[in-house]
Structure formats: C-alpha cells, structure tokens
C-alpha cells in the first residue's frame, strides 16, 4: 500500500513537478514569514527578523532537496538533471568531447564490423531445418580431411541409414546456356534428389527430382533457382514444361525454387539444378562432389565418427586401393565451411581487442585528466549538498553520455566498415575459376547476408555501457574521495590531487599494446612482400586467359578436341600482337588434378608410388608461360595419338623420384586404379623436364607435377574432363593483353563453332587473386597497426600536455629563476620518453610471446625477426618524440610571468 502511494507520489510529482516546486517554495516562504512575524512581535526589526528566520530554517536549497528526496521525485528528476548538466559540461569542452567520442566511435565501430562478420561466418547457423544436425562427410588422408569425396564413397555412405538421413552429394559446374542473344556461362549445381529435403529448399512451383530421374540415363530435367527464373524468364509462370539448352543437351524445367534458399555451400549461387545421376555401383575414384547429410536422431557426432570406422573397413574390402592412411570422418557442415576463414577471423578479433584496449586506456586517461581539472567544481558541488554517491553518479552519467554517443556513431561506422570489409574480403572477390582454390565461403553479395541483427545491436549497446563504466568509474571514484577542504582552499591548477602514477601506467600500457600491433603489422607486411617476390616459376605478364566450356557431345573424342585446339591456336596466333597461344585444363596457381603414378620397373609395395599433379596441355604451353625447359624436349605436333605416349615432369618430381639418376627415358603409368578410363592410358615415356611452377598457393614449395599432351588423351579421359572443367585458353601478347581480348574471343568462337569464351583474366590478375588473402590480412593489420600507433600517440601527447599544464607554476618558477628554456623543454621530453621507453620494453617482451600466435600467417620472415623488432620500436619512439615535442616546446616558450600568475 505504501509503495503504491510512493509510486503515485513520485509519478504525480514528475508530472506536477512545476506545481510541486512552487508549492514547496510557497510553504517554506510562509514558514519564514510566520517565524519572522513572531520575532517582530518579540521586538526585532523586519530585516533582522527575516534574517534570523532564514538562518534558523537552515539552507533553503538543502531543505528543498531533502523534501524532494522524500517525495520520491528525486531519482528520475536527478537523473535528468545529471544528464542536462553532463551535456552542458561536454559542450563546454568541445576538444575533449570530440576526442573522446572519436576514440569510442573507432573502438566500437571496429568491434561492430568485425563481430558482424564473425557472427555470419562462424556463429550464424545455416538457414536450414535442424541445421546443427547437418554434417559434411568426407574422406581423410593421414587424419586430415580432404576437400571433396568420390562417388563410390557417396554410395556407401548413403547406405548407412543408421547414421545418416538424406545423404546428398553436390557439386558446382559451369555450363553454357544456349539460347537468347549469345550463349552464357552459368553456374549449374548437380545434386542428388535428397539435397532439397536436406537443406529445406522451398519449392515455389512444380517439384524437384524423383528417384527415377536421379539415376543414370534418368532423363534431362532441371530445376531453376528463383533468381535465375526472375532474371531469365521474368517470372513467367508458364515456364514449367519448357526446355532449356545447356551445353548441347536440352533439359525440361520441372520446378522452380523459392527465394530464400541458403546456398553458401556453393562458390556462386547456382542458377540451375540438375540431377547428379550417380551410378549406384560406380568405381570412379576421382573427387567429384561434396557430401552432406543429417545425423539421425540420437546419433551424436562422436557416435557417427566411430560407426564410420566400420564403414571404412567395408570400403577397403571393396576397393583395396584405399590405403591405410585414408579414412572417413564427419564434421558439422557449418564448421567445415568456416574453417579456412577461422584463422583469418581470429586475427581480426585479436587485432580489434588490442585496439579497443588501447582506446579504453586513452579515454580513461582523458577522463582522469578532466576529473582532476574539475576537482574544484566537484568540491563545491559536494559542499552545496550533493552526497558522494551523487557526485559519482554525475560523473558516470557524463561518461555514459560520451559512450552512448560514441556507441551510436560507432554503430554507423561499423555498418560502413562491414561493407568495406566485405568488398575486400578474399572470399567475395569475383572468381571465375570454377574451383575455388582458397575455399573461403562467400559472405553475402555486397553485405546483404551480414545484417545488423539484434545480437549485434545488443552487443554494441553493451560495449558502450561497458566502456562507460570501465573508464568512467576510476575517475569518478577518485573524485569522490577528494578532501573537500583541501580542494576548496587550493587553486584549481595546483597538483595536490591528480594521480600521475595511474595516468602514467595507462600511457605505458598504451605504448606497449601499440608496439605489439606495430610488430604484428610489420611482420605481415613483410610476409606479403615475401610472397609477392616468390618466383612463381613462370612469367605472368602480358598473358591473357579465358575459359570455354565444352560440355556436350561435339568434342567428346580426343581427335575432335585436338582439332579444336589446333584450330583455335592457329587462328589466334594469326592475330596481330599475339606471340604464343596454348590451351590447357588448368592454370598455374590454380587447382591441379592429382593422380597416382607408378614408375615402370621399380618395385611396388602398394597401389602406387606417389601422387603427382597432372595437367594436359597443348605443345606451346611452356612457351606461353616462359617456363624453363631444363632437360630433354617439349611437346610438338608430332606427339599425337599415333605416336609414342609421352609425359614431361617438373624438377620437383625429378628430384623426388630420381635423386641420383636421369629420369629421361623412364616410363610412368598414370592414374591406374582411379577409374576404368585411366587404366586405358598406356605407360608414358619421360621426354622432358621443366622448371617448377608454384601451384595453388604461393607459400608452399612446388609439388611434383606431370604434363601430358592433349592429343594423346584417351577418349574416355577426355570425356570426363570435359564434363568437369572448361578448357582454358592462354595467350601471350606483345601488347597489353586486354587490347586484343575481343579479337581473341571472336577467333575462338569461330574455331569452336559458336561456343563462348568467358572468364577473361590476365595472368597477373590470377596471380593477384592467389595472394588476395594475404594481402587482405596485411591490409587489415596495417590499418589496425596505424590506428594503434595513432591512439598511443594521442595518449602520450595528452598526458604530456596535461602534465605541462599542471606544472606551469613550477616551470614558471624555474624559468624565472634562470633555467634555460631548452632545459625545461628537455626535461619534459625526457619524462615523456622515459614513459615511452618503459612501454617499449614491455611491448617487446609481450610481442615475443604473442607473435608465436601469428606464426601460421607468416612466410619468409620469422616470428621474432630482428629487423622488425628493431624497426617497430624506432618508429614508435619517433612518433612518441613528436607527441612529446609539442607540449615540451610550449613549456619552454612559456612566458614565466604569465605562468606564475596563472591560477
């Protein structure tokens, strides 16, 4: 009952605040007058009576305050008061306010941007029903999961219905869509029929595949994705039953998917979905797909992995070539997709935390400085009747205001930052290679999938408040413990109260943290430089590449393929500005097939001697890339289907298999045991050895590789390759590559009878894409390193500036007594640099410990590289010196008379 009354009183009081105020005032005035009247009757004059009455009543304001307190108006009222006062104080010191807000904005903005991305890549679940039960099933080699699975494995896993449900295989191809003004190369997904159920694909119209359609020779049907239907068919509702032509075959459209399917498993959003049509008893062992499934209810991840071991045994029985080093495992799909980015994300997070710490230290410093400058004002407030708690609350309100403003701006900055991050993020760079060598998941086209969900907003608010409390509380408590008497007697500028030790400690830690960041940035910059200067083994300048999808029946026979290549090369060679032309299945620095090989005449204990990279090429391939031929000869037109089967190997393979003898003339059997078509390939004689070319990533030594002529491919292998990858044309030009691209394109189109060549990239671009990730890491760390440096400099400057201000009096005296102005300046510089020195030592020590964590990112530079560990502190020292110099000069050039007079 009483609480109710209190609430009502408080509530009513807020609304009737004006009324309450005037009533209170009237009441107390009445009291004074009534008392005065009595005193006048006792003989005092009117003035004396009034004065006496007022004195007896005590402080009007204080009484009013206590009455207001009693009414319960006080809390909300006083909070509003605090806010208004806080705003006014912040407005009066625009320099301080702007700096503090800027720092908080940067800190929170960085956090919001990074954690949004982290949230999407790692934390956000797949948008599918029961997404946490969806796993990726994959083969492992020596315990490490490989990328992709083979068809026989899929068939076997699918049979494990006690572990998995809705087991699905999927892969992404590129095919030519014929029809319309010109053929277009589109991403096409091949999926087994359970895929749609597994991922909860919404079907807008029609249906998805039946079991009959998903069998070999099950017919040509296709399902369209929503975006493609909208774009190509303009939402035509009559599209079901119509046919589309892909490659050289026509497919009947049987269904259309709804718009919200999460397709992050694929490098690009598939436009068309075709049935995989896997043969149930196939023994084709190349890696052709990814496999995902849902765990049966009651089956945990651990149980699934354990049960899979029995399946491994069964597989090995059926396919003895499956060595003991290989196995199967299961991972949650989300993790499998995010894994490669995890490292990158962790780097992000680490950097952001550092910068945030520095920012907090900085703002704490600023607030401490402000706090001591306002001691005088605070003392007066306390004397007028504000309790200690009230003072603390008022200061905390100010820092909360700062943080909320900074936090809001930070949120906006974060949104901008997200877009910038995504634009640069390597996974989102346009990739025209059908196989993503970096396997980094896309994160939403232009930021669309990274939304500011409530978790991020909540985080931003929490971060703001946390920073407010963190750096507001220290000064607030210091302030409230002030000895009021002492403060009121002193003038505001004198040192008595400020705590130089705390502020110095803050500066030292800022310097240390900034140094660690600098060292990390420097290491990454050097890594990038090292990667760029790695000799890739080929010359990528002035080389243009483009791809052509040859799916269909026209080029199934090797002789037809070879004819196409020869025609194409001839036509393009004839163009002005073109030096060399070649065709191959893939480019250096991008994925290369790995096939097992057997050296003829060497004892064998197992199905093969080793794996090697395998590329088929046209004769001028090495010329186009300026790859050195070190021994033997290159391919010529005479190495055709009727001649002796030949192969060229690279230095790495020569050293690996023939360390002390000459490989020329030895013979290799390639691909035996992979599938029947490879078994038809005869033993090939080594006729040449070429220089090593870096493959997939620049920071690994080149792997052993083999090259075979296109003309000598068995028909069966040719067919397989056509279906998997487009052929790549490579042209070396005398002039800028893009200037002839159109001419090249049309020549190739003529040679192929109308097939489009697309995905035009210069080899320089390809190379730059291979280093994209490292460049991104380096960019990120540089940005963070510079921010850290800047913040530390601000911190040092602020402290020195403040210290000079505080000691104006003392310095004025020194100057007046005859000290050289240079001495005064040097004294300030010395003090500032001493702090920097301590911070530097701390920083170096910390860096030694921490750089081990980023050793995984480094290349060509050690984690404790002496050059970096010397250069970074020197840089920091120079910046610190600059930051200290300005206040020092101000101290030195100060007019002693002014300083002495300064209150």
């Amino acid at each position: 009952m009483r609480i109710w009354r209190r609430l009502r009183a408080g509530w009513g009081a807020i609304f009737g605040r004006v009324r309450v105020e005037s009533e209170l005032d009237a009441e107390l005035r009445f009291h004074v007058e009534a008392h005065a009247e009595d005193l006048m009757h006792a003989g005092l004059s009117r003035e004396e009576a009034l004065r006496e009455a007022r004195v007896k009543l005590g402080g009007m304001e204080r009484t009013k305050e206590e009455c207001r307190d009693a009414l319960g108006v006080s809390f909300i009222e006083s909070v509003i008061q605090d806010v208004r006062f806080g705003l006014r104080m912040l407005r009066k010191n625009p320099g301080f306010t702007a700096t503090a807000v800027a720092i908080v904005t940067m800190g929170i903005g960085a956090n919001v941007a990074v954690f949004s991305v982290v949230n999407t890549v790692i934390l956000k679940p797949l948008k599918a029903p029961n997404a946490d039960r969806i796993v990726q099933v994959e083969p492992t080699y020596q315990g490490v999961p490989g990328t992709g699975a083979g068809l026989p494995e899929f068939n076997l896993w699918r049979q494990q219905t006690n572990i998995f449900q809705d087991t699905s295989a999927y892969r992404l191809d590129r095919m030519n869509l014929i029809g319309g003004s010109s053929p277009e190369l589109i991403p096409v997904a091949r999926v087994t029929l359970d895929f749609f159920r597994l991922f909860g694909a919404p079907v807008l119209k029609g249906r998805t595949f039946t079991a009959d359609e998903d069998r070999p020779h099950g017919g040509n049907v296709a399902v369209l994705s929503y975006g493609f239907w909208a774009r190509r068919f303009e939402n035509d509702s009559q599209v079901l039953g119509k046919a589309i032509v892909l490659g050289s075959e026509s497919y009947i459209v049987i269904g259309i998917l709804g718009p919200n399917l999460d397709t992050e498993q694929f490098d690009r959003i598939p436009d068309v979905w075709l049935p995989f049509q896997i043969e149930p008893n196939t023994d084709d062992h190349g890696s052709y797909c990814y496999v995902a499934a849902r765990l049966r209810t009651g089956v945990t991840l651990g149980k699934a992995i354990a049960q899979l071991q029995a399946v491994v045994q069964e597989y090995r029985r059926r396919f003895p070539a499956f060595s003991s080093k290989e196995g199967f495992t299961v991972q949650p799909l989300r993790e499998a997709m995010g894994n490669n980015s995890r490292r990158l994300i962790m780097l992000f997070v680490g950097a952001v935390i550092f910068v945030l710490l520095i920012a907090c230290a900085n703002v704490a410093n600023l607030l401490l400085a402000r706090g001591s400058r306002r001691m005088h004002e605070i003392a007066i407030r306390a004397a007028v009747g504000a309790g200690r708690g009230r003072v603390v609350r008022q200061l905390l309100t100010e820092s909360t205001l700062l943080s909320l403003v900074g936090g809001t701006l930070g949120l906006l900055l974060g949104m901008v930052g997200i877009r910038a991050l995504l634009a640069l993020y390597p996974g989102n760079l346009p990739l025209t290679s059908p196989v993503n060598p970096l396997y980094i998941p896309r994160i939403g086209e232009s930021g669309s999938a990274v939304t500011l969900d409530w978790r991020i907003l909540g985080f931003a608010v929490l971060a703001s408040l946390a920073t407010a409390v963190l750096f507001g509380i220290l000064p607030a408590f210091q302030a409230s413990r002030a000895d009021l008497n002492l403060l009121l007697k002193e003038n505001s500028a004198s040192s008595g109260f400020h705590r130089p030790r705390t502020r110095s400690m803050l500066v030292v830690s800022e310097v240390a943290l900034a140094l660690v960041m600098l060292i990390a940035s420097a290491l990454l910059i050097r890594t990038y430089i090292a990667l760029r200067s790695v000799n890739p083994g080929f010359n990528s300048h002035n080389v243009l590449t483009m791809q052509m999808s040859l799916t269909g029946t026209r080029f199934e026979k090797t002789s037809e393929m070879e004819q196409l290549v020869r025609d194409g090369v001839r036509r393009v060679q004839a163009l002005p500005g073109v030096t060399d032309v070649a065709a191959a299945c893939c480019l250096p620095l991008e994925t290369v097939w790995q096939l097992p090989l057997i050296v003829v005449g060497r004892p064998l204990d197992g199905p093969y001697h080793r794996f090697g990279g395998w590329t088929f090429i046209s004769p001028d391939y090495f010329d186009v890339f300026n790859i050195a031929l070190t021994r033997g000869r290159a391919f010529t037109e005479r190495d055709d289907a009727n001649a002796q089967a030949v192969v060229i190997i690279n230095e790495a393979m020569a050293k690996a298999l023939w360390p002390r003898s000459d490989p020329l003339g030895e013979r290799l059997i390639i691909g035996r045991g992979m599938r029947a078509e490879y078994d038809k390939d005869s033993a090939r004689q080594i006729v040449g050895i070429v220089g090593d070319v870096r493959d997939t990533v620049l920071d690994r030594p080149p792997r052993p590789a083999m090259y075979v002529p296109i003309a000598q491919l068995p028909d069966g292998i040719n067919v397989i390759n056509l279906r998997l990858l487009p052929i790549t044309w490579i042209v070396r030009t005398r002039v800028a590559p893009y200037s002839v691209s159109l001419a090249i394109r049309s020549s190739l189109e003529q040679a192929s009878g109308g097939l489009p060549a697309s995905g035009i990239r210069s080899m320089d671009e390809v190379e730059s894409q291979a280093t994209a990730r490292t460049r991104f890491e380096m960019l990120l760390m540089t940005v963070f390193g510079c921010s850290a440096l800047l913040l530390a400099a601000i911190g040092i400057y602020g402290l020195m500036e403040y210290s000079v201000q505080q000691r104006k009096h003392e310095m004025g005296i020194r100057l007046a007594l005859g000290a050289d102005s240079r001495d005064v300046r040097n004294m300030v510089v010395f003090q500032g640099m001493r702090l920097t020195f301590v911070g530097t030592v701390l920083g170096i020590g910390t860096a030694f410990g921490l750089t081990r964590l980023i050793a995984g990112f480094l290349f060509g530079v050690r984690a404790w590289d002496p050059g970096v560990f010397i250069a970074a502190p020197v840089l920091l020292g120079a910046v610190a010196l600059l930051a200290v110099w300005l206040p020092a000069r101000r101290a030195a050039t100060m007019n002693p008379m002014v300083a002495l007079r300064h209150e």
């Binding site: 009445f30 009543l57 009455c67 009693a70």
Partner: protein
Amino acid sequence: MNKQLDLLQGTLDMLVLKAVSLGPLHGYGVLLRIQQISKGSLEIQQGSLYPALYRLERDGWIASEWGESENNRKAKYYRLTAAGKRRLEAEAEKWNRMADVIAGILRTGAEGS
C-alpha cells in the same frame, strides 16, 4: 531554561504525528506546538522538520491541504490520517516499552548495594 535535548530522527516523526493529532497544523505551527507541549525543553532543528513532514505524508501517516492561515495567507496544513493515528499509537507503545526496559536496567544497583 531546561537543557536542550538532542533528538533522534525516529522520535521526530513521532512527535510530529503527536502534534498533528491534536488538530491540523501548518509546518510552523507544528514547530510551535511541539515547543509548547514540551514546555520549551525541545527545540526542533527547523531544517529537519519539512523533510520529515514530506516523508510522513509520502508514507501516508498525514495528509496535506492548502488552506488559509490566521493572517489570511495561504499555508499548507497537515492532519493525521486514520493510518497515522494507528501508527502513532504503535510507536508510542514501543517507545514506552523501551523506556521501561532501559529504566529498569539503569535502576539496577551494583551487586550487593
């Protein structure tokens, strides 16, 4: 003149209630009445009076109303509510009991005297 006694907050509340129980009063009047009924032994700190009045009103023991004073000036009058009456009785009883207990303790002589 009797020595001024120092007053605790709890007792001030009780005295105010008592003063007001004898008839509605404005703040100054409460002051005078307490002085009067204590026969001058108690002089209240004026500064603590009004907060006490507001507190008691918030808690519901007294209610206020604007009226006219003797000199036809506007003044805020306080009167005891029913709940306040009960509270006053309860507090008075507690006070008396406490006084008895303490008096008893103090009356106890030294052992054997």
